[in-house]
Amino acid sequence: MIAGTDRELKMLDKASAEFARKELAPERQENDRYPDAPLFEKTIKKAYDLEYFHMILPEALNGVGQGVAALCVILYNICREDSSLGGLIFTNAAAQELHIAAGAEEILKAVTEPADSIYNFLIAAPVFNNPRDMDNAADAAMQDGRYLLSGRVEYTVAGNIARHAVVPAKTEDAAGCSFFLLDLSSEGVTVSAPIPSLGLHACPAVDITLDRVPCSLLGQVGEGPQYFGKMAGRMSAAAAAMSAGIMKGSLTEALEYSRGRFQGGKRIVDWSEIRMMLAEMAVKVKTAECMVSRISQGIDQQETGWQEYAEAAAIDIQRSACGLTTDGIQVLGGVGYMKDFGQEKRFRDAKHIQALLGMVPTKKLRLIEGMFR
């Protein structure tokens, strides 16, 4: 459904679904043990080789320039099985989009063009905080014509596995923050251990401490919140696609289990209360798929008002995913709560993903603010 009738998207849909089934599903439980188990580097590398990390990046910048719809198709399929990889792809795409929103294509190109590995290509970013929400910025000071960053940036996703990071920092001469690109292998950078978190365990977030680290300013000083807003508009469709994928995965597992589990002398799917729960789940999945397909298309075609539609749909789908994955566990009863099945991880991941791009209440308020303008 998400791919629609577009031939290229349909091919991508098939390929990414196959990849998720073969590469992600079998190792889901083990991969989720990170950092108590190794990171699934081989799988990340495979996804990189398949150019899933290049999807939204324009061809001129060494990407495949497929647009938001293609990114959504991939994220949807991947998150059906394991959204940690989805989180990494999302973060990288968001970091790239921040560059583009700031008109800093040349800086981005300097990263992507010479990159010969996922480590060099990947850009970390604190994608869970909208700079207009909470203060999570370093301090930028100008010295000899260049900016040096000091201070702390919390919850930077992929900060321990990427070569570069985009981080917000405050400058003396502007009220709003600015975004900077820095090399995490530079002197003065300290990266914390992966932060134990609710979900997306194999998409680690870290706190970064900086001590006079050289960096490149993206766009104009003080324009960070605007760039973030622009990026968030497009990327909210991708976040919605992730949630929709989780929902689909949860429904699939619930359907499968309910056909095989017997209680009260019949398959539990034949108790009408379970059937009703599954029906509610299906309504949510279908609606979410429909919305993701439509908004991603709207964004790629620059339809009027696309940003509001995308942000509203994302809020709704993410909320829906949290409710649905609760029922996804419930249909399985006790085993749904165990690591042996995928439902518990989907439940955690759905809630985790809801926090992408900022706090839920402020995302809603910003939507209505936009309508008042």
């Binding site: 108590d36 604190p126 869970f128 905080n129 207009r132 929400d133 909470m134 203060d135 999570n136 919390e154 919850y155 932060i195 134990p196 978190s197 609710l198 979900g199 977030a205 017997f262 209680q263 009260g264 002398g265 019949k266 108790w271 009408s272 209360e273 379970i274 729960m277 949290c322 609760t326 566990i329 419930q330 009863g333 006790g334 749904g336 709560y337 165990m338 690591k339 042996d340 518990e344 991880k345 439940f347 955690r348 809630k351 985790h352 809801q354 926090a355 900022g358 706090m359 839920v360 209440p361 402020t362 308020l365």
Partner: protein, 500 residues
């Protein structure tokens, strides 16, 4: 204006007066010292939280994340030192005899800091109340006194309940489903006792418990009429532990597999069997359901307290965060929308609490707490020294007539309406409070943004922990059906349940 006859008739119209006034009717009957005692219990819980639970909750969770096989003996030993495993065992059986409704308040307090640790304490009383519900006074006395001895000797002696089987979870909770399902845990009658075979799964505190109340069936083609409750001790021949589950939350509280292979249980450890209850006024099948209801009327209200604790913990953390954090350049707590969110969360806490309090009022008037809360009994237990019970009363409890009398009073003394009222209210509390617990965890996480995702901010653990509450003690779906059965079906003679 209105005649006596009319009052009677109108009160009997749905909702029946007694169904909606449990708290009101129970208040004047409560012995006064219960309030003071409950205050002490809550204070004790808060002290225990401050000294033991809060400092260790995240560490225990992380420990189990890294080493899933870890068994939290360290916590159990501390809880044992604090007297928490005998607190709610009646004095007549060697316990401290704190009033039963205070257990729910206690659980709410602990659960507001850590649901796993609340479970490490609370689930023991699930085992104890199952034992008590069998009415087998000799065994209740014997096992409860071992729990008390374990406290004195610093060797915790916990009790678990083993009902769930790999093929029967919901089915094991409801007589009407049992016979249609596939129960496989068999208790075969052999000379001098029963031979137990089968597997039980997801047994909370399994690895930590000394005694296990095992529900088995002497004829699996008609389990509803052939249910036996056996007391099996860890170490008994033919009994072993299988896997320890890897769960999403409540990691600190083990969920264990119990495996029985030709495990011989002598007659003296048969808590309950059909032969023992034939002289009661209800049929074996009806008594079986009554016993289930007797247990779950208290324990599901207890899960209501867990849910309230979850709702409260999430609210507390969100409130603290909102007071300390700036959002959009101003304190979060000073955004009007955040104030309303916090108010909504507090409303959820208060509403959840009211449900378990009401359910326990019903238990005090019509169910498991009734005899303990009757004023003469209450004061008798309270004023007589423990030694009197140990020396004078305890030997009497060995006599068979005591069990007979106890069962008559306990089981025959309860009307069908009373069974429905207590069981219905308990299910209602379980469903309402656990759903509200989950709701508040979601709201807290939404309010806290990226901070909420971090373990160190505690709420993500609360959400993981709270989800279990909607599953165990019967899924919330089964509990909704029980609400229908107990509180709605009576109004509609056409209604049939578990038969579609």
């Amino acid at each position: 204006m209105i005649s006596r006859k009319e009052v009677k008739a109108y009160s009997a119209m749905p909702p029946v007066f007694e169904d909606i006034t449990c708290g009101l009717a129970s208040a004047p009957k409560l012995p006064k010292p219960m309030v003071k005692e409950t205050r002490r219990v809550i204070a004790l819980a808060r002290k225990f939280n401050k000294e033991v639970v809060r400092p260790y909750a995240l560490e225990l969770d992380s420990k189990l994340q890294a080493s899933p096989d870890y068994i939290p003996w360290d916590f159990v030993e501390q809880a044992n030192e604090w007297g928490l495993y005998t607190g709610w065992i009646p004095k007549i059986f060697g316990g401290k005899g704190w009033n039963m409704p205070s257990l729910a308040y206690f659980i709410e307090e602990i659960a507001s800091e850590c649901l796993a640790m609340a479970n490490l304490v609370g689930v023991h009383y699930l085992g104890v109340s199952t034992l008590t519900s069998t009415g087998n006074v000799r065994l209740i006395n014997q096992i409860c006194r071992q729990v008390a001895a374990g406290e004195k000797t610093h060797t915790p002696c916990l009790v678990s309940l083993a009902t769930t089987e790999p093929g029967a979870g919901t089915d094991a909770e409801e007589i009407d489903l049992m016979d249609k399902g596939t129960m496989t845990c068999t208790a075969e009658r052999v000379p001098g006792g029963y031979k137990l075979n089968g597997t039980k799964v997801f047994i909370s505190n399994g690895h930590l418990s000394t005694w296990h109340m095992v529900i088995a069936y002497s004829d699996t083609s008609k389990p509803s009429e052939n249910t036996v409750v056996l007391a099996v001790k860890t170490g008994d021949k033919g009994f072993s532990f299988g896997r320890k589950e890897q769960k999403m939350g409540q990691k600190g509280c083990p969920a264990s597999e119990l495996i029985f292979k030709d495990c011989f249980v002598p007659d003296e450890y048969v808590c309950f069997s059909p032969e023992q209850i034939r002289s009661l006024k209800r049929t074996v099948r009806e008594t079986g359901m009554q016993m289930i209801d007797y247990v779950v009327s208290t324990t599901r209200a207890g899960v209501g307290a867990f849910g309230t604790g979850a709702a409260r913990g999430a609210y507390n953390e969100a409130k603290k965060f909102a007071a300390e954090t700036e959002v959009g350049g101003k304190r979060l707590i000073n955004h009007e929308w955040a104030q309303c969110m916090l108010a909504e969360m507090l409303k959820n806490v208060m509403t959840a609490r009211l449900t378990y309090v009401e359910a326990n009022s019903a238990n005090g008037l019509y169910g498991a707490f009734r005899d303990l809360q009757r004023k003469p009994m209450f004061y008798y237990y309270r004023l007589m020294p423990a030694k009197f019970f140990d020396k004078m009363v305890s030997p009497m409890l060995e006599k068979a007539f005591m069990t007979k009398t106890f069962r008559r009073v306990q089981l025959d003394g309860q009307t069908d309406e009373e069974i429905h009222r207590t069981s219905g209210w308990a299910s209602l509390s379980k469903v309402a409070a656990t759903d509200l617990g989950i709701r508040n965890c979601h709201m807290a996480l939404e309010l806290m943004g990226q901070h909420g995702l971090r373990r160190s901010y505690r709420v993500e653990k609360m959400l993981r922990d709270a989800k279990l509450l909607q599953i165990y003690e019967g899924t919330n779906q089964l509990n909704r059906l029980n609400i229908f059965k107990c509180m709605i079906a009576g109004d509609c003679p056409q209604a049939v349940i578990f038969d579609e």
